[in-house]
């Protein structure tokens, strides 16, 4: 089932320069939502308890964030590049190496905090993913502008969009990842902080984005320096997500 959505995303990606692209993204999002709902009903638990499920959910959250941003800030053209990331995530999720069957929930995950902690965190990371793309686009268009070339996007618009995305993503990430995670850890493991590799790396990610906001709001940094921090932040988030799982073992062994 997931493969169909994967291909529908590929289609959208090609067409998303136009209005049709946006509508196709919307159809993709709705079908993906239905797929997640069916999976939840079928398995009886939240659709993010292993790597495959959480990748699929992260893609969904990214597309959701994208739809919101496109609607609010009228920046349709950047959508194509964001969908590239979504396609990449779905491709990894669909690879034969990922176990796809829904397995019963291990005791540690049987809590409503699973819903709160994972969904809010991944939604925040969805916004970071879009900010990553807009920051990359900023760097490209800014370099082009300096050489006197025409660009599709106005660099200053991209810069302020990146800021707004992080301004939405950061509170979500703080609430879902940090605060909900601490409360859940306190209930399940007996301590709000265990210096687990995933905890440490998400704290690093959190610090990078906090640095972004501080340098921007307090010190007035903009443009290239901000874009670099936003890119670094998303790379840290990616390492928290993939690197910690495959390179280091810890308490967060499920996702």
């Amino acid at each position: 089932m997931a493969t169909i959505f994967y291909f529908s995303f590929l289609f959208k990606q090609k067409l998303s320069l136009s209005r049709i692209g946006t509508n196709l993204t919307l159809i993709g999002l709705i079908s993906h939502t239905l797929a997640l709902v069916f999976r939840t009903i079928e398995s009886g638990h939240a659709p993010f308890t292993n790597m495959y499920e959480s990748l699929s959910f992260l893609s969904w959250a990214t597309v959701l964030a994208l739809v919101i941003v496109e609607k609010k800030y009228q920046l349709r053209a950047a959508g194509a590049y964001v969908l590239l990331i979504v396609v990449a995530l779905m491709a990894i999720a669909s690879s034969p190496l990922m176990p796809k069957e829904a397995t019963p929930l291990v005791p540690a995950l049987q809590s409503y905090w699973l819903w709160l902690h994972v969904s809010v965190t991944l939604l925040g990371e969805g916004f970071f993913a879009i900010a990553f793309i807009t920051s990359l686009l900023y760097l490209i268009s800014e370099a082009k502008t300096r050489q006197g070339e025409e660009t599709t996007f106005s660099p200053s618009k991209l810069d302020s969009l990146s800021y707004r995305l992080i301004a939405i993503g950061f509170p979500l990430f703080t609430l879902g990842g940090l605060i909900f995670g601490m409360i859940w850890a306190y209930r399940a493991w007996g301590s709000y902080w265990s210096w687990d590799p995933k905890e440490v790396w998400s704290l690093i990610t959190w610090f990078v984005f906090a640095l972004y906001l501080h340098t921007r709001l307090v010190m007035g940094w903009q443009g290239r320096r901000s874009a670099f921090i936003a890119i670094l932040g998303f790379l840290a988030a990616l390492f928290t997500y993939f690197g910690v799982n495959y390179l280091i073992s810890g308490l967060h062994s499920y996702v």
Partner: protein, 272 residues
């Protein structure tokens, strides 16, 4: 800590230089729930806390549902089998007589007598038998995935059988004295008492952490939605010609000030 059923443990608290008995924790019941496919669904421990010789509270805890009592929190953290205290149900059979069966309960280290002048003793037990690449026999885990017992059987003074027998693989045995005999020995079941691993935490500082979380949330909210900024306006009237001067300052987040300022100017211009 590992808590065997019905043997209470004592919890001491320290006050300056001495320890005093604070609480007694007793495990009333421990059970494991399984999913239909055999994987573990939950561990449940029923705990009773005794203070000053009175039973104060009884609660069944499970993962994600700890017991709280006067600042102490009791978590379900692990479980296991007490392999030092186990009973092995075994059976002696005869190849010449398929009807023959003699059940026997063995305890490691204690020789047991059986008919036909047989003496059985279990010298080693592993819950999860494995042979490593270097040929050593060890246990892969502390769970009874492949329980195996090393038995020595004598008939009078004659060694009859020395080797491993397996609970999961009745037909299979790994023997050293491979002299064929009429008897064969089965390991039917392994019984050991389970214990429940309880983690006890007392962290009076946690409330400060929650307070910090609330401040963090409030701070984020204020920083984004209520940044300090000032906007002034000066309206001059020079004989019917009205001049409006606008000025603004923000200590941080100048971007939104610029946005708000341009919006304000646009609105004032539209007012004409």
């Amino acid at each position: 800590m590992a808590l065997p059923p019905s043997a209470p443990i004592l919890i001491f608290a320290s006050r300056k230089s001495y320890l005093y008995l604070r609480l007694i924790l007793r495990l009333d019941k421990f059970l494991i729930e399984y999913y239909p496919n055999g994987s573990i669904k939950d561990w449940k421990s029923t705990l009773t806390i005794i203070e000053n010789q009175k039973e104060k509270i009884t609660k069944t805890i499970e993962v994600n549902h700890p017991l709280s009592y006067q600042g102490f929190r009791f978590y379900q953290s692990s479980y296991g089998w007490d392999w030092k205290n186990l009973q092995l149900q075994s059976e002696i059979k005869k190849r010449s007589n398929p009807q023959y069966s003699h059940p026997l309960t063995l305890v490691p280290g204690q020789p047991q007598n059986a008919p036909d002048n047989l003496t059985l003793v279990v010298t080693h037990f592993v819950p999860d038998f494995i042979i490593t690449q270097s040929g050593q026999i060890t246990t892969r885990s502390l769970e009874p995935h492949n329980p195996a017992a090393f038995i020595q059987v004598k008939q009078g003074h004659k060694n009859l059988y020395t080797g491993w027998i397996f609970a999961r693989f009745a037909d299979f045995s790994l023997s050293q004295a491979a002299e064929p005999s009429d008897y064969h020995f089965l390991l039917k079941d392994v019984q050991a008492e389970m214990y429940s691993g309880i983690q006890i935490a007392k962290d009076p500082g946690t409330n400060f952490i929650w307070a910090g979380c609330i401040f963090l949330g409030l701070g984020l909210f204020l920083a984004f939605y209520w940044p300090p900024r000032e906007i002034w306006g000066l309206i001059e009237n020079h004989n019917g010609v009205v001049n409006i001067h606008l000025g603004g300052v923000a200590s941080k987040n100048k971007e939104t000030l610029i946005q708000e300022f341009t919006r304000l100017i646009r609105e004032i211009r539209g007012f004409k």
